[in-house]
Structures are given as structure tokens and as C-alpha cells.
Amino acid sequence: MKYIDGFRNPGAADALRDDIASLAEKLPQSGQPGMTDLLGEPASTTGVPACPSEHRDTKVRTTNIMEVCGSHTMAIARYGIRDLLPANVNLISGPGCPVCVTDTGYIDAAIELARRGLLIVTFGDMLNVPGSETSLAAARSEGLDIETSYSPTHALELAREHPDREIVFLAIGFETTVAPTMALLEEARREGIQNLTMLIAFKLVPPALQALMTDPDLHIDAFLCPAHVSAIIGADAYAPFTGEDGVPCVIAGFEPLDILLGLKGVLEQLVNGKACVENQYGRVVRQQGNQKAQDIMARFLKPADVAWRGIGVIPKSGLVLREKYAEFDAEKRHAITIPIGEIDPACRCGDVIKGIAGPFDCPMFGTVCTPSDPVGPCMVSSEGSCAAYYKYSR
């Protein structure tokens, strides 16, 4: 814990805050108009993620920095980091929580498998993600066998313990979770385990960034790039988003000082008119990433077009099992197809994630869609923009 506490030093945070403030004064007056939150205070003073549209304060121009990763979003909220930033620096929470962007169709498929009597093993935070009709938590309350676990290895243990049961692991996550989950398949094959399959919904970060970059509605001045994902894919993976037509991409760790340092790096680039990849998390992230993990990923899986809740299908943004591992593929073994979920046409999460609409612009906000009964990813995540606005508007 000593190691972690070193990255939470209040004195160092003060110094970084001062650096960020003086850099922000030198920012070019560009980007989206600034925002105020629903209380009329500048958004950055309340911890509520700012959103444009109706809450604009035309006097302040802001620089929009998207933190792509859900763990950054959580850490920013937990340490009140928005509160430390000048009014013209705005953080937008990107689609970087793999649970929140899980499509309704995937949840429907998992529940269908449970209804057939299979034992479903899932990460706990998937329980409340809504499918088209119900959630895994509600399905479990009907008596279906749905177990939560902190680690995929639990699925393998269950498969060993219950050779008479078919176990399905809900394999979701970004690049970080892929290699350990696939290593499990290797182990299962070695042991000759026949009763374990995976319902796969792995997602990839760079294709999502690509989709956001090319979205004409979106005005992002820089990306704060994920810590752990970058450890796998490497700093070089962000090169395509930088350069002449690109934006600064700064990789930062998840500790508060890491994030402040990352934001300082972003502002330095913006002030100096640069747009390059900067690795502020050098203690973990290498230029080429983790080759071993990348090899495992390539051996077991291949890219596929997959659906992101609230955004829709993004080309080559997911991974599916290769043919030679079909025995572990829940879709093939149990003859089920993960449907592409219908996007509720009223849900504006896609626009909220992109920062082009605010929660109040959504007709379902606070009525049909609430934290205990969420529709879109911004409400599913406790730190999503809509959930945060809901918290304040009560």
C-alpha cells in the first residue's frame, strides 16, 4: 500500500494543480463552448461531468479531454479531480467501461442460456446491466443459476467440481481481460474439460477511438488514454490518432497523481500545438505493449464487428473465438446467436458519451431510465454522466 500511497500525495497534487492552472491560461480559445451544470455553477466545481447543449455558458470556451477508460472515470470521481481543474478544462467520460457498453442482445443471450438450465458465471457488475426485457439479477431471482465471480478461474473450478453441469463464463472486457481468460481455455483443454464454454463479448479500444475521431459531431481536443489497456496494446497503438489531423494522446495511470500528470501532459501539448503519443505511465506501459498477451489474443481470437450499447455496431471493435476453439464457444456449442440489441430510439446515451447532448436532453432521463432501472450505459455506470446528473437532481 506504501507504493500506492506515493501516488496520492496531497502536496504533489497541489503542485500539479498549479501547473495545470497556469497551462490552462495559455490554452488557445478553441473547442466547444463551456458548460454549466444544472445548478448554474461551473461544471468543474461540483464533480458532475459537464455536458454541452442546454447548459452552455457562452463566456467560457473549454478544452474537451475525453478520458476513454472507465477506471479513469471512477478515479476522477473518487478523488474529486474535476474540482481541481480550471473552468476551461472539461473532462468527457468516454465509452470505456466494458460492462456499461455491453449490448442488450448479449444480456438476452446469457439469460436465454440460463433458462436452458446452464450455469452462468459472470463478473458481479454485469448483474444489473439491462437486457431487452430483464437483467441477470432479475433472472437470478427467478431461480436461474447465475453465479458471480471475481476471476474467470472460478468458472474453471466450477467446471471441474460439477462435471454434470454445463458452465458458461460471460467473457467480457477490453484488451486487459482477454489473455488471462484465454489462458484458462488452454488449461481447460489440457485437462480435457468438456463442460466449459464462453459467451464472448471482448471489445477493443483503438477501433472505438477511431469511431469517435471520425464522428463529425464530436469535438474532442485530446484523449487521456487508459492505463491497463495500454500495458497490453502498447503506446504505439495510439499513433494513428495523433499527428497533423490528430489530437494529443496521453497514457496515464489510475492513481490521482497519474491522472493529474496526464492532464498536465495533455495541456502542455495543446499549448505547444503538438499532437503526439505521450506515455506518462512508463512504469507499466511499454512502447510495443505486452507481446505475450497480444500473441495469446491473436492465437485464440479474431476481430469482429460488434455492438456497443448506446453507440451501435463499430467495425472490427470486438473479438470472437477462432474456429479451432469452437468447442469453447458458447454460441456454437449451445446453438445460440448473440443478437444485436435494438437501440431504444429514445436513448441518447450515444450522444451523451460523445458529449453532444446532456442527460436532460434525453426524454427517458429520470423517468423511464434511473440508476436502479437503467437503460443506457451512462445510467448503468454509477459514474456515468446520467447517473451523476441523477444524483444531483434529486
Binding site: 500506492i4 478523488y79 474529486g80 444489473n128 471475481y150 490521482p256 440508476p371 444531483y392
Partner: protein, 338 residues
């Protein structure tokens, strides 16, 4: 005295016949049979010396039944004793309802009852009445306990969240979240050296230590399920006041801190089972803290924040100098931890 050669609970132990009687004699009467339980009457007749009594009940279904720092037995005493204590009562009497699952190892039942007895003695409460049922395998998870409690009201305490005024201080008697993290680590088989130990303990002596300042004590709670965050949010709900906390002052033990980092859980959301949260006037806070710190269970007592005029909001001043809302945990964080 062996109750059955198999040394496991059988359905017949709940059948009301010879085996039932043997179980009650060997395990219940032997431990609790000296007081009002003597002769096993249908109900207990109890002397009460105060004008008002405090009456509460709680059920305990924790898994695992035994965890680092305690088991369901002492938890069932502390939970009910603490509910009485934070209402300004002196705990006196407990009822003991046991629901046993067929197949429960008798050794485990004995360990639980030994802990329960030791905890009751330490809290100076008496098990006055009880009931034991056996259900078929699969109908409960090993062992469930219900305890109801009766206490004598300390009339000098006038406690209500409506008493809270801006400037009042928030005190906590020790590190928060240890119980929840200990149970979670045990349940998930997370093995950490010097990992969290349950803080399961009584708080009634802490309450009594604040008696000289009773007029300045506004409200008390024990932050169990939902943790500090839930208790504090309940206090300010629909109220014209809010609460401001200082993260640097909130005590979290190293073991709990490690598990919280590992699992990404906020210690403010996690249960304690032996901590007292008190709101008191600013002038009385130093004296109460001094009195608490003189007790073994209050050595790490500290002021963690104050009441504000920011209506309905619990705000945390973070270590980094930022501010954030402290929300109530949503859904199941730690199912069945008490």
C-alpha cells in the same frame, strides 16, 4: 455429551421428540439455562427499571459462518446490542432464534454458541428466551440466527437526526469497513497477509462513556450494511442540512485498505459491526473523543467531518483536495454480510 453418533444436525433434532430435547439440553440449557431460560418456560418474565425500554430485532445469515475476527454467534449478539445502544439504551436481554440446516456439523454449532455465550457475557446481556428449528438440507444455508433485544433507556439521551445543526461534529470510534472486507475476503478466498479482521464488537460502553455530554449528543448510529455512506445519507435525506467529511481523517485499517484497492470497493460503502458513529456539538466533541480513546474499543476514535448547511448532501473533501458526493451504494455490494 455426544448428541448423535453422526455429530451432525438431523431433521429429527427439530421434531420435538427425544432428540430435540437432548439437543436443547446439551447445547442451549448448558450455556444459557441459568437465568430466565431455566425450566424452559414459553416466555421470559423480565424486570425493567427504566420508564422506557428499547426493543429491537435483527437476523443474521452471514456466509461464511466463521470469518476472520468472529463468527455468526458473536455477530448476532453485537448486532442487536449495538442497535439498542445507539438508541440510547443499556442492553439487558436477548432472545435467541436458531434455524439449523439438516447436516450442519455439531462442532460448528458448538463453536458458534460458545462465541455467542462469551459475547453475551462480555456485554452483560442475558439470553432470556429462544427457539430452535431444523429445516431440510437446502432450505437454509447452514445456520441462521435471529436475536431480539430489550434494553433500558438512558433518558438523558434525546436522539434524532432532526437535532442536527450546521457546525455539529461527526465522530467515529475506529476504522471503518473491517467487518465487510473480512467477510468478503473470506467468501472470495482472497488470501492476504495481515488481511482484514472483522471489527464485530459491542459499542454500548462507548455510548455510556458519552453520558456526561448526553445533552450535546444529537444522534448515533452503527454503520453496518451500506457503511458510513448509507448512514450519513439517511441522516441528511430530506433535511435542511448536509455533511462534509475529510477523507484524510477517515480511519481505514491496512488490511481493509488492501482489499478495497484489490476489489475496487469504497470503504465508505462497507459494513462495520463494532463501530459507533456519533453527531455531537462542536464544544462536546473533544471530551467525547477523550472518553472514547480511554476505552480499548475507542483508541482510534476520531472526528471525520461536520454538519453543513448544504441541504441533503454528503460531500467528501478528498485526499487530493477535490470534493465529491458520497452516494449510497447501489444494489448488492456484499450480499448477506450480517
Amino acid at each position: 455429551m455426544p448428541v448423535h453418533k453422526e455429530d451432525r444436525i438431523l431433521l429429527a433434532h427439530g421434531g420435538g421428540g427425544r432428540l430435540s430435547r437432548d439437543l436443547i439440553d446439551a447445547e442451549i440449557v448448558s450455556r444459557f439455562g441459568d437465568g430466565p431460560l431455566k425450566g424452559l418456560p414459553d416466555g421470559a418474565t423480565l424486570p425493567i427499571s427504566s420508564d422506557h425500554m428499547v426493543f429491537t430485532t435483527d437476523s443474521f445469515v452471514v456466509q461464511p459462518i466463521e470469518f476472520p475476527g468472529g463468527n455468526i454467534g458473536d455477530l448476532a449478539v453485537h448486532g442487536t446490542v449495538n442497535d439498542i445502544a445507539v438508541c440510547g439504551g443499556v442492553p439487558r436481554w436477548l432472545s435467541l432464534g436458531l434455524i439449523l440446516e439438516e447436516g450442519l456439523p455439531l462442532d460448528l454449532l458448538r463453536r458458534v454458541l460458545d462465541s455467542l455465550k462469551a459475547a453475551a457475557d462480555a456485554c452483560d446481556v442475558t439470553v432470556a428466551t429462544g427457539d430452535t428449528k431444523v429445516v431440510a438440507a437446502g432450505q437454509c444455508d447452514g445456520l441462521f440466527i435471529n436475536t431480539a433485544g430489550v434494553g433500558e433507556k438512558l433518558e438523558t439521551f434525546q436522539l434524532s437526526p432532526a437535532n442536527l445543526q450546521p457546525g455539529d461534529r461527526i465522530l467515529v470510534s475506529g476504522p471503518v469497513g473491517d467487518h465487510g472486507f473480512a467477510v468478503l475476503a473470506a467468501r472470495e478466498s482472497i488470501h492476504i497477509q495481515n488481511g482484514p479482521q472483522s471489527d464485530s464488537a459491542p459499542v454500548h460502553r462507548l455510548v455510556q462513556a458519552a453520558l456526561p455530554q448526553a445533552a450535546d449528543v444529537r444522534f448515533m448510529r452503527d454503520p453496518t450494511r451500506g457503511g458510513l455512506a448509507s448512514v450519513l445519507n439517511e441522516m441528511v435525506e430530506d433535511a435542511p442540512i448536509g455533511i462534509s467529511l475529510k477523507e484524510e481523517h477517515i480511519p481505514v485499517s491496512p488490511g481493509a485498505h488492501a482489499v478495497s484497492e484489490l476489489l475496487g470497493l469504497d470503504p465508505l460503502h462497507v459494513a462495520s459491526e463494532g463501530r459507533l458513529l456519533m453527531v455531537c456539538s462542536a464544544t462536546s466533541a473533544p471530551d467525547i473523543l477523550t472518553a472514547w480513546q480511554a476505552l480499548p474499543e475507542g483508541q482510534q476514535a476520531i472526528e471525520i467531518g461536520e454538519v453543513t448547511s448544504e441541504a441533503g448532501r454528503v460531500v467528501l473533501q478528498t485526499l487530493m483536495g477535490g470534493r465529491r458526493l458520497v452516494d449510497v451504494p447501489r444494489g448488492e455490494l456484499l450480499p448477506r454480510i450480517c
